[in-house]
């Protein structure tokens, strides 16, 4: 450029301030004023086509013929494409094949995409999509994962982690042998239901064709690089022809990690074919029928326990309902296995993970990624043990926490910072007045035959890192412009979790600037390439470090330049408050420094990179160090239950959570509260139901019930961050990941429901309570407890021992 921007306005600007740690979400003002743009809010070019997907009305069949003439002839329809119209790859499976973009021969779930209609309006496209004549030959249907597993119908091979307490490798036989020697043996079974993501913004993409084979695709995706890859493969063009942009998502929760890609691919396919812009936004019901959900699991467990209630042996079998294809199920069932211990030392352990194939939409990533499901069995067992031994569940939980000499997981990783588990539980126990409340609740329950209260304090330990090692990398790109404004781009995506806000804070901190100087722009594959999904809670860990790397390089170059330019000792220079500081005070403003550097032809742009160190896992032996570190938390929960109707309500939840040194307390607390309530929904009212033909019946918010505001009463949830315990691993500013771990704090709600139900038997019997624990399930469980109590009334209650 020939002239530089006048810095006068900058010089008179308000003094630069650092981001307050709890700086508001970077888009907060846009959110509240309706100006934050989501994919479907973008202005459309003239001639944009609107798409609808033609979906299967059967769950399992061979597709004999697809007659689309009536669809093509419908008013407003411009083109109709099916599998044979795809020029490149037809399979968009993210890791393993199995996910046809459009079905060509075998239909494997109800609602599967058969063809795509492009029309002049969305309504015309949707109405036309219903006119297809689909001829099929039905095939036998499997909806039960255990049935599928018993037939050996698996999407991926079974994996086992087996280890003896002495550290030696184990077999099922050797662990069973140890189990037989335990003082007490308990076994149980449990079903946990799936969960619809219910991001408020459904899947959406807008494809804008460019010159030749080029295309820009706006996608509501947690993984723009994979969307780019898959579009390129589907269209049969090099990756460099495709650019994918994600400014923000209206919620993701894992549901836009792989499930966004088919929507974007279909839009790109139509755009390529017609040369016109193409937009596809799934109507809610289509979204719920077409896309995968959290995996339902079947849990089978056997525990050997000593007289004090301490587990010495564990045999856990987890069967994940993967749906019709592998998608991410291999890693999800792995993560369930990695979390089968939750926060407890297992001793001799045999953990098996089975990946069953059923004829439903392919289940996929969802906050916690199998971890929540993995923890359920052992948390169920904690109560089972307590009732069997006549002790309080909290006592049993505390006795089993990882502790000195018992600090290695069943996959051989040493649990760093394990003492925090005891710290968290002890603090909550004291601050929540656990034993006094326990006594109050017993008195309340004794006086009320119908309405019962329950209490539970449960811990969470969650491993941080992608278990697929190569995903633990990130890139960032930092530009400084000659007015001193800074643009940061990184590989992570914003889905509401405040990632861009945290990354802004990293840049601001490293460059000594105020927040208003730094802007994060939309995630784009042409700015930072080959990125990993924003998933596994890793967004800030990975991209924060990459951004820091870029900023440090840039800062070093600027200070080198300044030292020479101003003839000052390099070591005495620093950037702070938007100024260059030297031995004698302020030398120049940031803007002046940047302009001077520009005139001296110093590069004002830098990229950064980060790869997580020290992680590995050996699948052959089922051992390794898959996690860079663990995040911890605990929740103390009280519920009140109407045992005649099964209705219940959360009375209070006190949460204490470990985020290391928080990057932004307000955002972290928001993640904890939101995760907790989402987890509560998973375990209570969010029930997915299919009919016998495999059709999803709960395909909209009229029948699928996520928590509403009255499910979270005023003042019910209090969250505190554990202070004074920075991450022992060298993460970004010693913080810890926060996206997923709090989700599992909600297990305390379910445990409290079981506690209330146990009161019906004078706390002598633990009742099986599958999840979601809907009012129906709670009422039927209460009935079972009452019947048991009537039969065993004469046996006499052994009072639970309460430590003084």
């Amino acid at each position: 450029m020939r002239t530089l921007h006048s810095l006068e306005s900058d010089l008179s600007a308000t003094p630069a301030t650092h981001a307050s740690p709890s700086h508001q979400h970077e888009s907060a003002e846009r959110h509240v004023s309706g100006t934050a743009r989501y994919v479907d809010d973008l202005p459309l070019p003239a001639g944009t086509l609107h798409l609808a997907i033609g979906m299967s009305e059967v769950a399992h069949a061979t597709l004999d013929s697809l007659a689309l003439d009536a669809v093509r002839a419908a008013p407003g329809v411009v083109c109709v494409l099916s599998a044979s119209d795809i020029p490149g790859h037809r399979d968009v499976g993210p890791v393993f094949p199995g996910d046809p973009l459009l079905v060509s021969d075998r239909i494997s779930h109800h609602g599967q995409a058969l063809f795509v209609v492009a029309a002049e309006s969305e309504r015309a496209a949707r109405q036309a999509a219903r006119l297809a004549k689909v001829a099929v030959t039905p095939l036998p249907l499997t909806l039960d994962p255990c049935q599928a597993a018993s037939r050996g119908d698996l999407v991926r091979p079974t994996h086992t982690q087996a280890r003896l307490a002495n550290g030696r490798a184990a077999t099922r036989e050797s662990v069973s042998e140890r189990l037989a020697r335990s003082a007490w043996q308990l076994d149980g079974e449990l079903e946990s239901g799936g969960q619809e993501h219910f991001y408020l913004e459904s899947q959406a993409a807008l494809a804008l064709p460019g010159e030749d084979d080029e295309m820009l695709v706006h996608s509501s995706s947690q993984h723009p690089s994979e969307v780019q890859k898959l579009i390129a493969e589907v269209l049969g063009v090099p990756f460099h022809a495709i650019t994918v942009e994600t400014r923000r998502m209206g919620g993701g929760f894992g549901g836009k990690e792989t499930q966004a890609a088919p929507v974007a691919c279909l839009a790109a396919l139509v755009a390529r074919r017609t040369g016109r812009a193409a937009r596809l936004r799934l109507p809610r019901n289509d979204d719920m029928r077409l896309t995968g959900k959290r995996h339902p699991f079947h849990h089978r467990y056997q525990f050997g326990v000593d007289d004090s209630g301490r587990i010495d042996t564990a045999i856990i079998e987890l069967t994940g309902d993967c749906g019709h294809s592998p998608d991410l199920s291999d890693a999800i069932v792995d993560r369930a296995m990695f979390h089968a211990d939750n926060a407890y030392y297992l001793g001799n352990a045999h953990v098996r993970g089975i990946r069953a194939r059923t004829n439903v939409a392919s289940n996929t990533a969802f906050r916690g990624f199998g971890g929540p499901q993995g923890m359920l069995a052992i948390e169920a067992a904690m109560e089972d043990i307590a009732r069997r031994l006549g002790r309080d569940p909290l006592e049993i939980r505390k006795r089993n926490l990882y502790c000195e000499g018992r600090e290695t997981t069943h996959y051989g990783q040493h649990v760093n910072q394990y003492p925090l588990l005891t710290t968290l539980i002890d603090q909550l126990e004291a601050q929540g007045d656990y034993w006094a409340r326990r006594a109050e609740i017993r008195a309340f329950n004794a006086a009320n035959p119908v309405v019962k209260k329950g209490l539970a304090l449960t811990p969470v330990k969650f491993g941080i890192s992608f278990t697929a090692k190569h995903l633990n990398q990130a890139g960032a790109l930092v530009h400084v412009y000659t007015d001193g404004s800074v643009q940061v781009n990184h590989g992570g995506t914003e889905m509401g979790q405040g990632l861009h806000t945290k990354i802004t804070q990293v840049a601001v901190r490293e460059l000594g600037l105020s927040v208003d100087r730094v802007r994060i722009t939309a995630t784009r594959t042409d700015k930072v390439p080959n990125t990993s999904p924003t998933a596994a809670s890793s967004g800030a860990d990975l991209n924060g470090m990459a951004t820091r790397d870029a900023c440090l390089r840039l800062k070093a170059r600027l200070l080198d330049f300044a030292a020479e330019h101003l003839a000052q000792p390099r070591a005495s220079l620093s950037l702070d408050d938007g100024e260059l500081h030297g031995p004698s005070g302020v030398l120049m403003t940031w803007g002046e420094l940047i302009q001077a550097a520009y005139l001296e032809r110093i590069s004002l742009s830098e990229k950064g990179f980060y790869a997580t160190p020290d992680i590995h896992y050996d699948r052959e032996s089922g051992t390794g160090h898959p996690f860079y570190y663990y995040a911890f938390g605990a929740a103390l929960c009280e519920v009140v239950v109407d045992t005649l109707s099964g209705e219940y309500r959360l009375e209070s939840a006190e949460i204490l959570h470990d985020v290391g040194d928080s990057l932004n307390p307000a955002i972290d607390i928001g993640q904890i509260e939101g995760g907790f309530v989402q987890g509560m929904g998973w375990l209570t009212t969010e029930e997915l139901k299919w009919n016998e033909d495999g059709r999803l019946l709960t395909d909209g918010p009229a029948t699928y019930k996520i928590p509403a505001i009255s499910d979270v009463p005023d003042g019910a949830i209090t969250v505190r961050l554990l202070e004074g315990h920075p991450n022992s691993a060298a993460s970004i500013y010693r913080s810890k990941a926060v996206g997923e771990p709090p989700f599992m704090l909600a297990i305390s709600v379910w445990a409290a429901l079981r506690d209330a139900l146990a009161s019906l038997t004078d706390y002598r019997r633990a009742v099986r309570l599958d999840t979601p624990a809907t009012p129906e399930r709670v009422m039927l469980a209460a009935r079972e407890q009452r019947d048991w109590q009537e039969q065993h009334a004469t046996a006499g209650a052994e009072p639970t021992q309460v430590p003084s």
């Binding site: 003002e29 408020l200 209206g250 119908v450 009229a702 979270v712």
Partner: protein, 518 residues
């Protein structure tokens, strides 16, 4: 043409197809993309807007369920109209509150939440000015009701509730969404977007007719002339045909402008005093009457749908669509309500319980309309117990609904039972066997703790004699039968507790009783 006011500016919209929703009109022709579509079924609240029908207060509405034609003469405020760009901060108090409390994460539900809060803020201010006493507990209840139909998947609601509380306490200044004629600035982005989306107007091009009669005779004539054309009032059920099943309506007949259908008048029928309630009276308009005379019915009403639904849905609609799980019919059947049907040929009056014939089939003839409902006044010593069971407490449809009405005789015993259930059969219906059993028993002795196996069994038998419910997505047959029979000891405990009101610490009969007490 549809003429209305949008964010303070007069607007004219070419008449779209009869079913075209306000949300479609906003996001396409009008270029106002701040209002979001989350479900297009009135269940999530992302599309909440503020609407003022002439002569009525400003209320929240789901734009996805409201035909654009009903905007005629109305004042509409969207999220784009909430900001006040002339003030020092362009954010309105509601918006400032949400930013301050970190109440948005992904932001997609936020515009709808902001609109619900803005209307709540104005409503609260109005009530305060009228001298209503609004303590923290009452404010919290208002917040639950105002936001019950706005789903948020990210925050867990705590910061949203905090924003609401601080807003109502006046921390962010007075409400700005008060009267008509407010001239909010038209945001430039909306206009630009509108231009770029002009071609999408083709989506909204009209075919068909939206009839908007204002006189009863006109309505009856239209009904007779177009027996296939659906009647529409709030559209909270009918519009799902358009948005979910993609049915196009060649014609719709709007009942909301017919004055006679929108009033509540005292009167009498069959020797009883009571009220004639017009079929197009909304749940919101019905609320004060129930609150005063049938408070248990008013409590039920607060759990019917969401505020947005209650602002639009009508009594006539709830009865006319003959859903087995409508919330009003079991209540009204238990209260011995009558229905007045009308056509060009005249009128007839029948008992509400006789109106329902079979699943979604009623006595209504193709040329008839529901004109009004007669609700008798409560008689002396009348008691009412209403129990709605649903998967989620608020904004959910009943799995089952049991309504028990009885009278206390001079000696304090319960007599004259009328019991009606929803969700237990293809239609809302009375439970004659259970009524007979209750009349025989001295229910006062049947507290849940004392309920013996034999009595339990007899109650279950009576329920099974009355109903054979289906298993469906909301609950199994087994749950419905058991939960229905479990309502009896609840009612018994309540009667017992009332008789011993002076005794300390009676056991609570239900979660509702617990919540009412705490």
């Amino acid at each position: 043409m549809i003429d209305f006011t949008l964010n303070g500016h007069a607007r004219r919209l070419p008449a779209p197809a009869p079913g075209t929703t306000t949300l479609e009109a906003l996001r396409t022709s009008l270029g106002h993309t701040g209002t979001k579509e989350g479900c297009a079924s009135g269940d999530c609240g992302a599309c909440t807007i503020a609407l003022q029908v002439p002569g009525q207060p400003m209320t929240t509405v789901n734009a996805c369920l409201m035909p654009a034609h009903q905007l005629q003469d109305c004042e509409l405020i969207t999220i784009e109209g909430l900001s006040n760009e002339t003030a020092t901060s362009s954010l309105s108090p509601v918006q400032q509150a949400l930013v301050t409390t970190h109440a948005s994460q992904c932001g997609f539900c936020t515009p709808g939440i902001a609109m619900s809060l803005a209307v709540l803020h104005a409503d609260h201010q109005l009530r305060s000015a009228e001298g209503e006493s609004l303590d923290a507990a009452r404010r919290d209840q208002m917040i639950d009701h105002a936001l019950g139909g706005n789903l948020c998947r990210c925050t867990g609601y705590r910061p949203i509730r905090e924003a609401a509380h601080r807003l109502l306490q006046g921390e962010f200044g007075p409400a700005t969404l008060l009267s008509s004629g407010q001239a909010a600035c038209q945001p430039a982005t909306g206009e630009a977007n509108s231009a770029s989306r002009r071609e999408r107007d083709s989506e909204l091009e009209a075919s068909g007719t939206f009839h908007r009669p204002t006189r009863l005779e006109e309505l009856l004539a239209l009904r007779a002339a177009h027996p296939q054309a659906p009647l529409i009032a709030g559209g909270t059920d009918l519009m799902l045909e358009y948005t979910q099943r993609l049915r196009d309506f060649p014609a719709l007949i709007d009942t909301t402008r017919v004055a006679a259908l929108g009033t509540i008048e005292e009167g009498e029928h069959a020797g009883q005093a009571g009220w004639w309630i017009g079929a197009a009276v909304t749940y919101r308009q019905l609320m004060p009457l129930l609150r005063e005379h049938y408070p248990e019915g008013a409590d039920l009403l607060t759990r019917l749908g969401s505020e947005q639904i209650r602002n639009r849905g009508t009594l006539g609609g709830n009865i006319g669509n003959a859903s087995p799980i409508g919330d009003m019919p079991p209540l009204l059947i238990a209260l011995e309500a009558y229905l007045q049907l009308m056509s060009v040929d005249g009128e007839r009056i029948l008992k509400l319980e006789d109106f329902f014939l079979d699943y979604k089939r009623t006595q209504l003839m193709p040329d008839e309309i529901i004109h009004s409902l007669f609700l008798p006044r409560p008689v002396h010593n009348q008691r009412l117990a209403v129990h709605k069971l649903s998967k989620r407490r608020d904004d959910d449809i009943s799995t089952l609904l049991g309504v028990f009405a009885w009278r206390r005789d001079a000696s304090g015993h319960a007599q004259h039972w009328r019991v009606a259930f929803g969700g237990m059969a293809g239609i809302p219906a009375r439970a004659p066997h259970l009524e007979a059993l209750l009349s025989r028993e001295t229910l006062e002795s049947l507290t849940p703790a004392q309920l013996d196996t034999l009595t339990r069994h007899r109650i279950e038998q009576a329920i099974q004699a009355d109903f054979s419910p289906l298993s469906d997505v909301r609950g199994s047959r087994e749950y419905r039968l058991l939960a229905a029979s479990h309502l009896v000891p609840r009612v018994a405990q309540r009667i017992h507790n009332e008789r011993h009101a002076t005794a300390p610490l009676m056991p609570l009969e239900s979660l509702d009783a617990y919540l009412a007490q705490s």
